[in-house]
């Protein structure tokens, strides 16, 4: 119960940090995607069923505060979650380096999935250019955020989250 409450508070903090605090202090494209980092963490360390639902919800929350298309990130997050979960048993999930690499790969996958969905289903000319232009800063800031997560006590805990 307490862990769930802590998780909810952390989620709210992540959203507030990402929408209202970081944009004031961080230059344009260097916005870390804290929700994606959280999703990868759950994918590596959490249960599959609840984790999948949470991944979808995290993506949905991201959609509420980003762009116009509700469900875009929810879908991408779910797909990425399932891919990571399917190979997480083969990985040493407690490794900090692996976590940073996985977050970086998930960032690339998320941008690619979003781009494909946007091109296929919406009319947003020029979005690909904007996404590619912001990709490297986004990737770096996500990797940096992931490396900070590895310093948290919850990361070194052997317990499964959720």
């Amino acid at each position: 119960m307490i862990r769930n409450a802590v998780a909810v508070v952390a989620l709210v903090l992540a959203v507030v940090l990402q929408t209202s605090v970081l944009p004031v202090h961080v230059a344009g494209s260097f916005k870390p995607d804290l929700l994606l980092v959280a999703m990868v963490f759950v994918a590596l360390r959490g249960p599959v069923v609840q984790g999948a639902l949470l991944a979808w919800v995290l993506g949905l929350i991201k959609d509420v505060f980003s762009g116009l298309y509700l469900g875009l990130n929810a879908f991408s997050f779910l797909i990425i979650f399932l891919i990571i979960t399917s190979i997480s048993d083969l990985l040493y999930a407690e490794s900090g380096e692996l976590f940073v690499v996985t977050v970086s790969a998930a960032t690339l996958a998320c941008v690619t999935a979003n781009l494909i969905l946007l091109i296929m289903l919406t009319s947003t000319p020029g979005i690909a250019y904007s996404m590619f232009a912001a990709l490297l800063p986004h990737l770096l800031s996500n990797a940096f955020a992931a490396s900070l997560v590895t310093l948290l006590p919850v990361f070194s805990s052997p317990q499964e989250v959720l």
Binding site: T19, F65, G67, I127, S130
Partner: protein, 273 residues
């Protein structure tokens, strides 16, 4: 001899006193000048007195400084607190002055609009870098609805897209999905301002024959009913006419500094009204 043994000491004392009295009385007339005794004593003591005075002065200063130092630390701490407080007040005063300037300009824009408006503050940005939206601090409870125009002191900001009871999201004019009917102020050439991301827009559907030049101001045309006619949008920064095609490429830089926007006005007029 017997007399000296008996009264010698008294006689000596009396003689001494008398001599001292005579010496004193002899020096009275010349009281302003130093005699040989005085000069001699002064000369002898002079080399000793000077360093002694310096050493004494040093210790006096050290003592005074020590006594002062005891209070100086407390005073220093108090003054540091005072400086912090004063600095905070200076920063707050500067911030207030800047906010006053911004709001004054916003009020100027408000007076030029012929519809009721609502003042809002920006409280958040889009989570992604490739979408251009903002979160504002007013929602449906304040009368905001989807489709309403959002303007700032310098011109158009965007359009309300998603409304909750106490917050709303604004689709900025630089977003790829944004489109605003526009006119070149000088030549009245028409087009649609579409977002290009990266803080720029383009004027689409403007034919090659239309007169568009770098530096032209682009304003809303009022067509579509979302934005009132004549609100500044941006300035033309590039015009390109290729050999082929019926349209020209026109790049526009918005007049509003969207990255630093803090306050804006929502025009409380639903487009279909």
């Amino acid at each position: 001899m017997e007399f000296f043994k008996k009264f010698g000491l008294a006689v000596l004392a009396g003689t001494g006193i008398l001599a001292a009295l005579i010496f004193y009385s002899l020096n009275i007339p010349d009281k302003r000048s130093a005699n040989f005794v005085e000069r001699g004593v002064m000369t002898v003591f002079a080399p000793v007195m000077k360093p002694a005075a310096r050493v004494s002065g040093f210790f006096e200063d050290a003592w005074d400084n020590y006594l002062n130092l005891v209070g100086v630390r407390q005073e220093n701490l108090r003054m540091r607190d005072e400086i912090k407080g004063l600095n905070a007040r200076i920063v707050a005063a500067g911030e207030t002055a800047l906010a006053n300037q911004r709001l004054e300009r916003l009020l100027g824009m408000k007076n030029t609009l012929k519809s009721p408006v609502l003042s809002v503050s920006v409280i958040g940005e889009d989570l992604n870098s490739w979408f251009r939206t903002l979160v504002i601090d007013q929602g449906s409870s304040s009368g905001i609805a989807e489709g309403m125009a959002v303007v700032a002191a310098d011109g158009v900001v965007g359009q309300i897209v998603k409304v909750a009871s106490n917050t709303s999201r604004v689709l900025l004019l630089t977003d790829h999905t944004s489109g605003i009917a526009a006119t070149i102020q000088r030549s009245r050439a028409r087009g649609v301002v579409k977002g290009k991301g990266e803080g720029l827009c383009s004027l689409e559907f403007t034919t090659r024959e239309e007169d568009v030049k770098v530096g032209d101001v682009v304003i809303t045309s009022g067509i579509g009913g979302v934005f009132l006619k004549g609100i500044p949008i941006g300035e033309v920064t590039m015009v390109k006419r290729g050999e082929y095609g019926i349209f020209q490429t026109v790049i526009i830089k918005p007049l509003v500094r969207l990255a630093h926007l803090e306050e804006a006005l929502v025009v409380l007029k639903v487009p279909n009204d």
